[in-house]
């Protein structure tokens, strides 16, 4: 048997947690060593995931690095594996996690040890979600992530953190119970929860519609799709910077991944049947969320609504069932993971210095924070989808894919690009340019320090690299996406 690299990636952060818990000594010592341990663990995890990427065979459309053992007798097997669809999401998770840890160890003031533990546990659940090849296992990771995220928002969040944490938890919990019912129903009808076997067995048509809806509710809440999105702005605004980054960069991607893997993979007939329904919701999400974003006074809320809009592109891409659409959706997920992280980190930088997220409190920041202004403007432009950045490739591909299927949807969705330009550029104009004026504590406004520069520039460089050379992602995912498209095409 080969080295269980996926299990290692998934559970290695927990080893870090154990080490942190075992550290004894004065508070200061424990704090310092827990910082070191968590950085070490997450960086090792990232390196191992790079190794995974290097060993990944892009020509193979099936699952690779598969591990399987019996877990609950006659019922659930512990099965992990990655294919082209999930590998980059795993990489994204392992890449973003150390950034979150770096970003938060200096800005967080209280209970750093517990925070790092929560982030590491979160990492386990997130990697597990993308690797699980058994529905029950997937659900376990999917749902388990609620616990650390609830605590991250609730303990380290802003003023209305309790409300937001409860809303986040209950909303997602309510959504996911429908998925649970669907999973159980699949089990009794198909006698297996193994994803690979289920894909081969083909779930009966009459069952597919209900199962699809069960999964859809749960995934739509998590994505979030209009009209289930109301938890997201609250959660984003109140969460600490690292929490927002994890939410935007990774948690939202779980749903996109779930749509490709489960809705398309297991219920192709139902997916065709409901495709227009998803289109309508996505187009509403894109246009509505963009307009709402225009009106926001709070920067984090603005970015949160822009996330809702960008996730709309992901869903229309996926439900176009074309190669370009699904390619674009996956690309858009990765790119949004990088861009939204960078935007949230930028807001975090401002918030650390001035303790305000309100747009009106800032003006002319460029005058004393030129490096910050560069990153902020760059990220905003990438968010708009400027050619040369990864945001452009994702949106462009999804729109091409959709245009083939339904040009009205594509045209309506394309208006979102203009709207996103409007709110992003307006945000830049108000915060970065103009006459320098910062309400309260303006004197503390220092430019980026070394850590922040490293983090933000890394994100920036990746955004450009993927934007200029998208094949870096598109080639490895190609064969797996082909398989999905072929399966979907077979239905028609």
């Amino acid at each position: 048997m080969n080295f269980p690299i996926l299990s290692f990636l998934t559970f290695f952060p927990l080893v870090g947690v154990i080490f942190i818990l075992l550290r004894r000594g004065t508070d200061e010592v424990v704090e310092r060593s827990s910082k070191n341990i968590s950085i070490l663990v997450s960086v090792i995890n990232f390196i191992v995931s790079l190794f995974l990427w290097s060993k990944f065979d892009p020509a193979n459309p099936g699952f690779q690095f598969v591990e399987e053992t019996q877990w609950i007798k006659n019922f659930v097997s512990y099965k992990m594996g990655v294919d082209g669809i999930s590998i980059f999401l795993v990489l994204l998770t392992t890449f973003i996690s150390p950034l979150c840890i770096f970003a938060s160890i200096n800005s967080l003031k209280k209970r750093i040890k517990e925070f790092l533990i929560a982030i590491l546990i979160m990492q386990t659940f997130m990697i597990g979600v993308f690797c699980a090849l058994d529905l029950f296992l997937f659900f376990l990771f999917f749902e388990g992530g609620l616990i650390p995220m609830f605590l991250i928002i609730g303990i380290w969040g802003g003023e209305r953190r309790v409300y937001s944490a409860l809303k986040f938890f209950l909303y997602t919990f309510l959504g996911s119970i429908f998925m649970l019912i669907a999973i159980i129903a699949i089990y009794w009808n198909m006698n297996t929860l193994d994803l690979v076997k289920l894909t081969e067995l083909k779930i009966p048509e009459n069952l597919q519609y209900w199962m699809w809806l069960g999964f859809f509710i749960s995934l739509a809440v998590k994505l979030p799709m209009w009209p289930f999105h109301t938890w997201l702005p609250d959660a984003h605004v109140e969460a600490p910077t690292a929490g927002s980054v994890i939410l935007a960069a990774i948690l939202l991607k779980i749903s996109g991944y779930g749509f490709i893997r489960f809705s398309l993979g297991l219920f192709p007939i139902a997916s065709h049947y409901f495709a227009n329904f998803v289109f309508v919701l996505s187009v509403i999400a894109i246009i509505y969320a963009s307009f709402v974003a225009l009106m926001q006074k709070d920067m984090k809320k603005l970015i949160a609504y822009s996330s809702v809009a960008h996730m709309g592109y992901v869903t229309i891409g996926i439900f176009s069932f074309t190669k370009q659409g699904i390619d674009g959706a996956i690309f858009q997920m990765i790119s949004h993971g990088l861009i939204s992280s960078s935007l949230f980190l930028c807001v975090g930088v401002l918030y650390d210095r001035v303790h305000s997220r309100l747009i009106e409190d800032y003006s002319g920041v460029v005058n004393i924070m030129p490096k910050f202004a560069l990153v902020f403007i760059f990220s905003s432009l990438a968010n708009v989808g400027l050619p040369g950045t990864s945001g452009f490739v994702g949106e462009f591909l999804t729109l091409i894919g959709t245009f083939k299927v339904n040009y009205i949807v594509a045209i309506l969705a394309a208006t979102g690009v203009i709207l996103s330009a409007a709110y992003s550029l307006w945000l830049c104009k108000r915060v970065v340019f103009g006459e320098f004026k910062v309400n309260n504590h303006g004197e503390k406004l220092l430019d980026l320090d070394a850590t922040e520069i490293v983090i933000l520039f890394m994100l920036m460089i990746l955004t450009i690299v993927f934007g200029v050379y998208p094949n870096l992602i598109l080639e490895p995912i190609s064969s797996s996406v082909d398989l999905v498209v072929k399966n979907m095409g077979a239905i028609k």
């Binding site: 659900f139 749902e143 609730g154 409860l166 938890f169 209950l170 119970i177 019912i181």
Partner: protein
Amino acid sequence: MKNIIPELVILLSSFSLLIAGVFSKTFNKIINYIIIVLLAALIFVVYFNFASSVTLFGNSYTIDPLSNFMKILVLISVLFTMLISNTYLERLKIAKFEYPIILLLSTLGMFVMISANNLIVFYLGLELQSLCLYVLAAINTKSLKSSEAGLKYFVLGSLSSGLLLYGCSLVYGFTGSVDYSEIAKVATEQSGALKFGLVFILCGIAFKISAVPFHMWAPDVYEGSPTSVTTFFAMAPKVAAIAALIKFLNVPYANFISEWRTIVIVLSIASMFLGAVAAIGQSNLKRLMAYSSIGHVGFILAGLAIATPESLSAVLVYLVIYVFMNIGVFACIMSLNRNGVYFENISDLSGLSKHHPLIAICLTILTFSLAGIPPLAGFFAKFYIFLAIIQQKIYYLAVVGLLSAVIAAFYYLRIIKVIYFDAAKESYDKNSSYGVKFSLIVSTVVILFYFIDPSTLNTIVESITKNIK
């Protein structure tokens, strides 16, 4: 003879300890330890006899894997109750040597209930345990609330026992027998009239497990009784009553499944829903746990209503996990004392995370488990129940169950919110006894790491439930 060693040992030791306790003051102090050792030994005795399957005393008393399983569970509950109650009672200055002996006697009553194969034996066991429970509820004679709890429990408990006895007499009147297997033989022919008996007996048992609408006593009794007694109430009597219920529904009334399934489903839905909704407004932790246990009983009843081997296995697994969750939560409540005063309000939990991080993390894990969040044991417990429900395609029951689980999550989250998000208060005394610490750690470890190997327990309960009918 060797099959009823546990019962005999409990009976004889409780009598002899009672006599010894009366005569010797110095002996009183070690009674607790004797009983703890005794209980631990009994768990092994029952365990080694696990597979035996015999009926005794003219077919009125059965020893089989199901009864042995339930007896072990009762013994575990009693053992942990003993472990956490010792210092608690001493600090409240209500330690009496009768306390462990009454616990032991009520354990005997539960054993009889669990093994009963005959309505009379069942009633005898039930009364023995109930009488002990009434006394236990009122054991804190200095507290008005405790006396009130005892009296309330006694009056309402007698009423329900009366109902139950009336049901038994009806069944006897219509079938001419009190023996379960005899009733089962006759039950096919005169189906109509027997339903009356069924309903009365079900009401009586529903009272004992505090299923809605027979739950009114639970919050008051849970709150008024000393916390150690509440711990006991939350676990052992429910385990015993559910064991009796499994047998009662599936042996004498096996042919009436369509009739009692409806009744049990109604009880179940009402309990799940009320348990979830009514707990939201509570400020006292023990009252909250009362409603929480009502909700859990609802889930257990849902499993009972399905009555397939899968669902009964799910019920047994649920009971095991339920017992461990309760041990942990009550051990946490028992840790909140300052200068000899015990605190039991939810608001008293604030700042636990700052001064007592270990208790805080344990209580958080247990609470998330009570709410049924994966990957903790509470999720698996609920999951198996839903698995069995959906197998029978009773979707509405599953949906109601899951919705009430979401509502219930709200008040569980509120506990966590108070622990972690609220401003810290004064710290509590760090003087928890080893018993409390041990119970807390053991139960948390069980709940947290259950997911590593769920198969072992599943295999055991599957071997039990496939022989029930």
